[in-house]
Symmetry: C2
Subunit: 475 residues, 2 copies
Amino acid sequence: MTADQVSRDGAVTAGAAVLVEALGRGLPGYRIVVDPGVLGALSHDEAEWAPAGQAAAAVRARSEAEVQHVVRTCARLGAPIVPRGAGTGLSGGANAVSGCVILDLSQMNQVLEIDPDNLLAVVQPGAVNNDVKAAVAEHGLWYPPDPASAPWSTIGGNVATNAGGLCCLKYGVTRDYVLGLRAVTGGPVAYGEAVRLGRRTSKGVAGLDLVGLFVGSEGTLGVVTEATLRLRPALAGTPRTIVAAFADLVTSGQAVAQITRRGLTPAVLELLDRACLEAVEEWKHLGIEADAAALLLARVDTPGDSGAAEAGAIAATMRDAGALWVEQSTDDAEAEALFDARRLAYPALERLGPVLTEDVCVARSKVPAMLEQVSAIAARYGVQIATIAHAGDGNLHPLIITPPGDEAARTAAQAAFGELLDVAIALGGTVTGEHGVGLLKRDGMHRELDPGALVLQSAVRRTLDPLEIFNPGKG
Amino acid sequence: MTADQVSRDGAVTAGAAVLVEALGRGLPGYRIVVDPGVLGALSHDEAEWAPAGQAAAAVRARSEAEVQHVVRTCARLGAPIVPRGAGTGLSGGANAVSGCVILDLSQMNQVLEIDPDNLLAVVQPGAVNNDVKAAVAEHGLWYPPDPASAPWSTIGGNVATNAGGLCCLKYGVTRDYVLGLRAVTGGPVAYGEAVRLGRRTSKGVAGLDLVGLFVGSEGTLGVVTEATLRLRPALAGTPRTIVAAFADLVTSGQAVAQITRRGLTPAVLELLDRACLEAVEEWKHLGIEADAAALLLARVDTPGDSGAAEAGAIAATMRDAGALWVEQSTDDAEAEALFDARRLAYPALERLGPVLTEDVCVARSKVPAMLEQVSAIAARYGVQIATIAHAGDGNLHPLIITPPGDEAARTAAQAAFGELLDVAIALGGTVTGEHGVGLLKRDGMHRELDPGALVLQSAVRRTLDPLEIFNPGKG
């Protein structure tokens, strides 16, 4: 059965029936979902603007053996496989393609091993990021990658997108914390074969870095069934928070550039503009006064006098860059309210209408220029753009908000989206810092990357998945 | 011309003459080396035990265009290309294969750009590691990867092997510092095409991580002609050194395991055994008394009171683990003598006879067991093994030393080498932590990796180099 043989109207066609029957030969029936309502809910992530096709079925896998059965069956029948975890992605990477089997890994959610002697954990792909954090914290350990979706998103999804987050400025991204993987692959080995990639040691150079290749590959090379994660010792001491307000976005960007230039590395350096703060306050009443165009929110986790010196230097830099006011705090409650606002910004803005999420990343010195363009493009297209940013990384999330049902606004938003990608590329940046290419940034990726690099990456994909069944059309 | 058409006796055969003539059509003649003495010197790295074939010629390339010409010519004539930098490798990765063109990149040694605003540098592959460090230090910046070969080894070689060093315990390995590459590739694009991989931003997920794939690929995927390196702000303050002596190797290993278990992360945690210390002292007269079976050498670079607390905790842990004595020092001269001893250990031991270098890496908790096996295997085979180790990473370098000309000892050493690899694998470790597979660890790699992973990596290589001309038989 090819994808085209499945109708788009939601009915289970003859081809889909064959597929479901074949899946059922190696799985308990209650693992297989064909109910159109449930299938529909499993057929998209949170990228509201990305199209989703009609899936033939979904499988809620509970073991690697079940994943192997799904991959073998789909390979035999030529059906695409779309793996998914919690579906919190923002680029449509987990959206169904026509005739696919959605492979829901969220029930493979166990933390299999925590090794405090060697600072590692072995987890299943459906384990939720914050659950892993909590489990390892009981052993005095820390898993740093912290996408804003951490309360819901799974390690498998984090691995697929090479998820970032707030603390990657100082502590790196998901790829930096994946030592090994198990994956059900295809191509050069038989489809459905499980392979062990990587290692448990802190260093190792035996063979090509296939683990790094799988991280960020958005499910296009195989299905990850287990991850060995590098951990850090839990941080000691209370972090210090520095908050600064700015009269305009560009000045806040200049403060970010200046912090980098002075060699300061806060653990977190986030930007929230007035639109974000207002949306959160209106929803949650945290008591935040949005009295400025932008806030910068820095966190320093270095303990002792060095931490105090670092926080002081960051505050001074913000003042020198023209902040309206700067406050340092070690008061957990006040700081937490601001970090809550940061985490709640996306859902708060979603309440106002469909959100088209940018994820551009530019060099730190280009942050002011990028922010200037965000404002200019918003004005030019007459669209509302609220900006949150992992500013210290140069990773900006301008969020384009459209009134529900306003088609003209959607068209304008789409045009603004494309132009923001062009500006990021022209500034030497990337179209996606951490959300992944998915469906939303494929054109942008083609504009960004060297044509030769695109040819090489397509060749690698075709080699590892000659049938093109692993999440085709994504990444 | 195939490799087989070139004779192994050092004369330029008819096939080699054709190759040299073709190379000369796009290069000044003085870039091409055919003199057997010079060719011989360029035909091997420092892995004394690895075999080297007879090269047809060497080219001292000065530009990417010249590299492209060499790759096109070799692709047309079917000649292997063996890239090399300074030839300081320890696994034979830069050794000539029969009929090859040695592509010497050591003259492409420029630091092209230093960007202090964005913490990056762009360098040519022949730039020496320490020269890059010195150049960026003038801007208050730091390039951390510090293999013991840093005074001589090149960034291209460091990239090819994903070189580690002393400070990777806290600061990571070469792969963590490579943002982008230019490489002359083949396969899916035309042989000789230069492609740009990666990015200049601190984060980015557009496309597969081909940069990470090239790092550590030992020249088997193409020839790197430029690297964009991530930098850190230079460290402030004077580091603290902690030295501890142990009555036996295993106890020192227990101290290492205990340091990890207590969540302590020194910047450096090195082990030197008595044989190493004696060899250095005999050669350099640094005034080191080798009064113990092993020394542990830790460095803490955290500034201020946190640094003092960290150093104190490390010293206490060493005492608790049973050190004979522990000393803390901020006296540069004394500490530097010990770090000099660490850096000089390898050449000091080479003076005693041919050295067969292990590079096994095990989980930190397995360091005592691995050290116990090193002693047992030395006794069983009657060979001298001196051990230096990046102990904090679990990366051990047992160095097997044989008296010059003693064939029986060489045979015993070879057997001991193989058994050490087996032990590392049995302990869940890897046969190579940082030196690369080259020629010496190919069997070990095949024993270590999952058979499926080996199939996948061969398939990726064949895809990117279907003619198998990029450093064939290595890695």
